[in-house]
């Protein structure tokens, strides 16, 4: 009898313990918001740059909606935000940024301590650079990210602005655009010497690293480069031979406009 009672006691103890070490799903993180009077436009921020990298010492805030995703691997360690006045590249040394900064989401950035620099005509916001070839470096490490980048409310992905090649101007750099009626023309500075039919060159011979390509597309009178990383998932996919409409982020390299695709959904086959 005593035996039975002791076993019951132990069994009860064991069963209650089973409730330990179980975890419920924690609540969703609240999005951050900042009052609009504290925020300046992306355009105003960009105007601080007058030929030299700018290191911000005041708490200047900007805000924009995410228009890029590094999910396909075409972008790496960077994302773009856009407000009504323009778009800006943010350099963050972290992979899988799309897990934190989603298409359409509002992001707030406190620029104090950050650097605004120019890379071949495209302005980028990041950390101060330790590499003399670049004006900006990467915001790196969770602590730095927590100090500067704030996740605001989710939102629907932005619609691109449809423009023609003739209409392109520098104020559109860093924003999401849509260009119609583009046909592949040729590969700019092809590593093989001939046109490469895929978006990029992921498997060069002899196991060399994947190569980024500048593929030239034309609408008949003007052209634009579609720049795709060799690490993109669609790098090895054949480009369409018929005319297409393309959505992408507008960037510039010195005097040449470039389009950066997020993924192949940005390529619309014309009917």
């Amino acid at each position: 009898m005593k035996l039975l009672k002791t076993f019951c006691l132990l069994a009860i103890v064991a069963i209650t313990f089973n409730a330990c070490f179980k975890f419920d799903d924690p609540p969703k993180q609240e999005p951050v918001t900042f009052p609009p009077e504290k925020i300046i436009s992306i355009d105003s921020l960009k105007s601080f740059h007058r030929g030299q990298p700018v290191h911000f010492t005041d708490s200047i805030m900007i805000s924009g909606r995410v228009i890029s995703s590094d999910r396909s691997g075409n972008l790496y360690r960077e994302f773009f935000i856009q407000d009504e006045t323009g778009g800006l590249k943010i350099k963050v040394a972290r992979s899988g940024l799309y897990n934190f900064y989603r298409l359409g989401q509002t992001i707030y950035i406190n620029c104090r301590g950050l650097t605004l620099g120019n890379y071949a005509g495209t302005l980028e916001l990041g950390w101060r650079s330790v590499d003399p070839r670049y004006e900006t470096g990467f915001i790196e490490g969770q602590w730095l990210i927590n100090q500067h980048i704030f996740q605001g409310p989710q939102g629907d992905p932005l619609e691109p602005r449809t423009v023609t090649l003739q209409q392109l101007n520098r104020s559109m750099i860093g924003t999401l655009v849509r260009i119609e009626n583009l046909t592949f023309s040729h590969t700019d500075r092809s590593p093989t010497g001939v046109n490469i039919p895929t978006w990029a060159f992921p498997f060069p011979p002899d196991g060399a690293a994947p190569v980024t390509l500048s593929q030239v597309f034309t609408n008949g009178s003007n052209s634009i480069i579609v720049r795709t990383s060799g690490y993109a998932r669609f790098a090895g996919t054949d480009m369409p031979t018929e005319p297409v409409n393309m959505v992408g982020i507008l960037t510039i390299f010195n005097t040449t406009y470039q389009l950066v695709l997020r993924d192949l959904n940005d390529v619309e086959v014309r009917d």
Binding site: L10, F21, G96, G141, Q142
Partner: protein, 938 residues
């Protein structure tokens, strides 16, 4: 049952002639340390190869065993809280042998029911963890006694051997894990009180159920009639293993010749136990034992046992020194984090592996005994880990998240200000220095995705939408079904010769697979291997889409909680053997020689068709068979009753285990090149002395291991996959001395000491083949690894103990002891000592950085204990013991560590190749901690 010994003893003394036709043995058992007070109710067992007689001593400590016969017998006297007394006796014809006064020495070890060993620590990424003995028993051997009890704090391994050489048997059948060779003590964790009936063979001595083994044998017998009768309640608490451990056991004869033994125990450590140095570790377990034995007649019984020890344990992992220094805490645990204010551990071991045993023994006549046993082990075993897909590494101590990543001028990302920022994060934000659980959930909460062409519940080509988890917890399972059986014959051929022999057979199916344990707020996971996406297109029709599949039979499988994914295969192993040992006693010399011959065969059966290896992963692999054999011989020379010299020689050929034979068993059927059996040659010599006030043993050993194969698996975070190092032609040489002494000095004071001093090195340069789970390429094949002359790791090669014990009147006792450890070396990463790793290192200093094997700093550990036990109303027995370990709070003793296998390439892509070793990871022995034990018996 109990003879009225007083009367008979008197009779015996005066009428030896009356019993002239029968041989008998008698004696008086006393407690040496309390002025030779008699020990009542001591269990006296006199047995030979075939027969067994058991009596208990009376209030005067006396016993008498009649009805014996001439020949060689073994006497074992055991009593609660005393060390066993064991000795062989030769009984002459018509003799009445009086052994006189037999001195017993109290052993606090019998009170120690806690498990030690690697309960809460393990090595990160290395798939087979070594687990040490969880059971401490009072062995007859003074060295083993002290070494097991004391040196466990530093994960000491006797003679430097891996646990696979230390054989543990249950009811005469080998229970070491068939896939890894690891010791099986965790199968009965928490059940020590009923698992005390152990026969420990010293060194290479043969036993009744096997030939002598290189590193000794422990046999646990669970026959209910041999378990201490009555009630036992044991409570223990420790800062090191379990915060609370409560066990209740009861055994008795419940009907005519029917014995029952039962036990239940609970083990628990909360995750924030303030006396636990190892942060974030926790445990919860419940163990049970049921034993039934029916004795049909003298010498014939059938016994059934069912035991199990389900447990869940959150463990710690080693970390780099930088992290310990930043936090000024050598017990940092990278597996933990906070979730809504509670500590949560990502690495939880969970197992429930019950064992059933059926054991039949029959003494057929005075010359022959037969025993037949069958054991069946089944159940589940797993450990959890973080899994992530296309998202940043969630581990807080990932090397890129540490200040050192930015602090080295030779690397292009050198930026000391960033290093300071990262350091600031470590010091101020606990979601940076530990896993940010809530952050992981929030990534999953937002990841709405649609998978086209998914397999849902076995149906391919479905479209599936929902929250796709980017972070999840996987559970890596290894579920075994292990059937083990054997038959043993013990015979006495003549007075001098005895022969033991038998047959054994073991069959095992282990199911290795990964299951989804927790989706962390998401709704599904997709079973693909993202990094296989980088593999090159082959010209045989398989598209990239196929290569990323873990199971082409279920492409893009949608995985829900508890679904199997990732990898899935069976390991089938069979072993059989026939063995025999003959022993002969010629005067005071005993000689034994024996042999064992058998086979081991195993194969893999894949249950997933891995996209990278479509023709070599699904279905059965080739069956690999090995001939195994062993030869053993030795002798014992009893110079007098108290001095024994023994020498043993063993030669063994054993098969590699499954986990050391397949280069990447998660993905394919390929085996290690040069898969050959391992050969071991071992010899030992020892001298032991037992006198009325002392026990002493000194011995030396020499062992050579040849052609050993091992597969070590490391997690390669660059390629987000497991990397496998398959090594062959490993050779080891172990040589050393062991010394143990226990001397009763005066008036209750005893001095004890044990020293183990060895030199364990690798004596060959093995070959290495490296593969990665997500690639069909061999990274290296049969490259030379320069290990010759480097040290075997994982145990201090010098361990010394010196202690003083005091036994006061009224059963108070206390003691203090000092331990010293040295010559402990780090676990080497296989790829550092290769030509490739040393490119560009041309000077001795440069090469030393890559080649040097770290030797850990030596250190002292001081422990003390105090306790008392008492008998209440002559029936109840109550005892308390408290020990304080590491009184000096030495937190600088590394109890283990390993070199990381990752090599970082210095400079930029265009610079000449030069590799940089990653920092090593360590774990430290805990600071001052306590151990409390209370028992109550009747």
């Amino acid at each position: 049952m109990n003879l009225r010994l007083i009367l008979i003893t008197i009779l015996l003394a005066t009428s030896a002639v009356l019993f002239a036709q029968r041989e008998q043995i008698s004696g008086t058992v006393v407690n040496r340390t309390t002025g030779n007070a008699p020990i009542a109710n001591a269990r006296v067992q006199i047995s030979n190869n075939v027969d067994q007689h058991v009596v208990t001593t009376d209030e005067l400590g006396q016993f008498f065993v009649p009805n014996l016969y001439a020949g060689v017998w073994r006497i074992v006297i055991s009593a609660d809280d005393f060390g066993n007394y064991e000795t062989p006796i030769t009984l002459q014809p018509n003799a009445a042998l009086n052994l006189g006064t037999i001195f017993m020495f109290p052993a606090i070890i019998n009170m120690t029911i806690m498990e030690t060993g690697v309960g809460t620590l393990e090595t990160e990424g290395v798939d087979h963890t070594q687990s040490g003995p969880a059971l401490l028993n009072s062995s007859q051997d003074v060295f083993t006694n002290i070494a097991n009890f004391r040196f466990g704090e530093m994960r000491f391994r006797a003679r430097g051997y891996d646990w696979n050489l230390n054989r543990v048997y249950l009811n005469g059948l080998l229970m070491n894990d068939i896939n890894t060779g690891n010791s099986p003590f965790s199968l009965w964790g928490g059940l020590n009180d009923v698992m005390r009936n152990q026969e420990i063979s010293r060194g290479m001595q043969p036993t009744n159920f096997a030939i002598g083994n290189v590193a000794g044998t422990t046999n646990v017998s669970t026959r209910a009639s041999q378990i201490r009768q009555g009630f036992q309640i044991n409570y223990a608490s420790s800062g090191g293993t379990y915060a609370h451990r409560l066990g209740v056991a009861w055994a008795n004869e419940i009907a005519d010749n029917l014995f029952l033994a039962v036990m239940g125990s609970v083990r628990y450590t909360p995750e924030d136990y303030f006396l636990n140095w190892n942060m974030g570790t926790y445990a919860q377990g419940f163990s049970y034992f049921l034993g039934l034995e029916k004795k049909f007649r003298i010498g014939e019984s059938l016994s059934f046992t069912l035991l199990g020890a389900p447990i869940m344990r959150g463990v710690s992992s080693a970390a780099v020194q930088e992290v310990y220094d930043i936090l000024d805490n050598p017990y940092y645990n990278p597996n933990m984090g906070w979730q809504e204010g509670k500590i949560r551990n990502a690495r939880v071991r969970n197992s429930h592996e019950p064992v059933m045993s059926l054991d039949y023994t029959n003494r057929i006549n005075s010359r022959l005994r037969v025993q037949a046993t069958a054991n069946y082990r089944f159940g589940r075993n797993g450990y959890t880990a973080l899994d992530w897909y296309d998202a940043p590494d969630p581990r807080p101590d990932y090397y890129r998240y540490l200040p050192s990543f930015f602090n080295n001028p030779i690397f292009p990302n050198y930026d000391p200000i960033k290093a300071l920022n990262v350091l600031e994060g470590w010091l101020t934000d606990r979601n940076i220095r530990y896993i940010n659980w809530e952050g992981l959930y929030n990534v999953n909460y937002l990841n709405q995705e649609t998978i086209e062409d998914a397999t849902v519940n076995g149906v391919q080509g479905q479209m599936y939408s929902g929250l796709r988890s980017k972070y999840a917890i996987e559970n890596r399972r290894a579920d075994q079904r292990d059937f083990n059986t054997g038959i043993t014959l013990n015979t006495i051929l003549t007075d001098a010769w005895k022969v033991n022999g038998g047959l054994t057979y073991r069959w095992n199916r282990t199911h290795y697979f990964k299951e989804m344990y927790d989706l962390l707020g998401g709704q599904f996971w997709v079973d693909v291997d993202q990094f296989a996406e980088r593999a090159e297109l082959e010209d045989d029709g398989y598209t990239i889409g196929d290569q990323i599949q873990n199971d082409m039979n279920n492409p893009n499988r949608i995985v829900k909680k508890s679904d199997t994914y990732g990898y899935n295969y069976f390991a089938f192993t069979q072993r059989g053997s026939a063995w025999g040992v003959a022993s002969v006693n010629v005067g005071s010399v005993g000689i034994h020689f024996g042999g064992d011959i058998g086979f081991t065969s195993f194969y893999r059966e894949g249950l997933f068709r891995k996209g990278l290896f479509p023709d070599n992963s699904y279905g059965k692999s080739e069956v690999h068979s090995f001939l195994t054999y062993a030869l053993q011989t030795g002798m014992n020379y009893q110079i007098t009753g108290n001095h024994v010299v023994s020498a043993n020689v063993n030669f063994v050929q054993q098969a590699p285990v499954f986990q050391d034979a397949f280069i990447s068993p998660r993905t394919r059927n390929s085996t290690v090149n040069n898969l050959v059996p391992e050969k071991i040659f071992a010899a030992d010599l020892s001298y032991s002395l037992r006198m009325s006030n002392m026990r002493f043993r000194i011995g030396g050993f020499y062992t050579e291991i040849q052609d050993r194969s091992r597969v070590m698996t490391f997690y390669d975070d660059l390629n987000r996959t497991f990397s496998n190092f398959a090594m062959s032609e490993i050779g080891q040489r172990h040589v050393g001395v062991e010394f143990g002494a226990d001397v009763y000095v005066w008036n209750g004071f005893s001095i004890k000491s044990a020293i183990a001093y060895g030199d364990y090195i690798y004596n060959t340069n093995p070959l290495l083949t490296q593969t990665e789970d997500n690639s069909d390429k061999l990274i290296f094949e049969d490259e030379r690894v320069y290990w010759k002359g480097f040290y075997v790791s994982g145990t201090p090669q010098l361990a010394m103990n010196f202690g003083i014990e005091y036994r006061a009147p009224r059963n108070w006792f206390g003691g203090i002891d000092l331990n010293y450890y040295d010559y402990s070396y780090i676990d080497m990463a296989p790829n550092r000592r290769m030509d490739v790793a040393n490119f560009g290192r041309n000077t001795i200093e440069e090469r030393a950085e890559m080649l040097r094997q770290e030797k850990f700093e030596p250190g002292f550990v001081l422990n003390a204990n105090i306790g008392q036990w008492r008998t209440i109303n002559r029936k109840y027995s109550l005892g308390v013991m408290l020990s304080i370990n590491n009184i000096l709070n030495n937190q600088n003793l590394k109890s283990g560590g390993f070199e990381q296998a990752r090599l970082l390439r210095e400079g930029t892509v265009s610079a000449p190749i030069k590799y940089h070793p990653f920092p090593s990871k360590y774990f430290y022995m805990t600071g001052t901690s306590y151990f409390l034990n209370v028992f109550f018996r009747f």
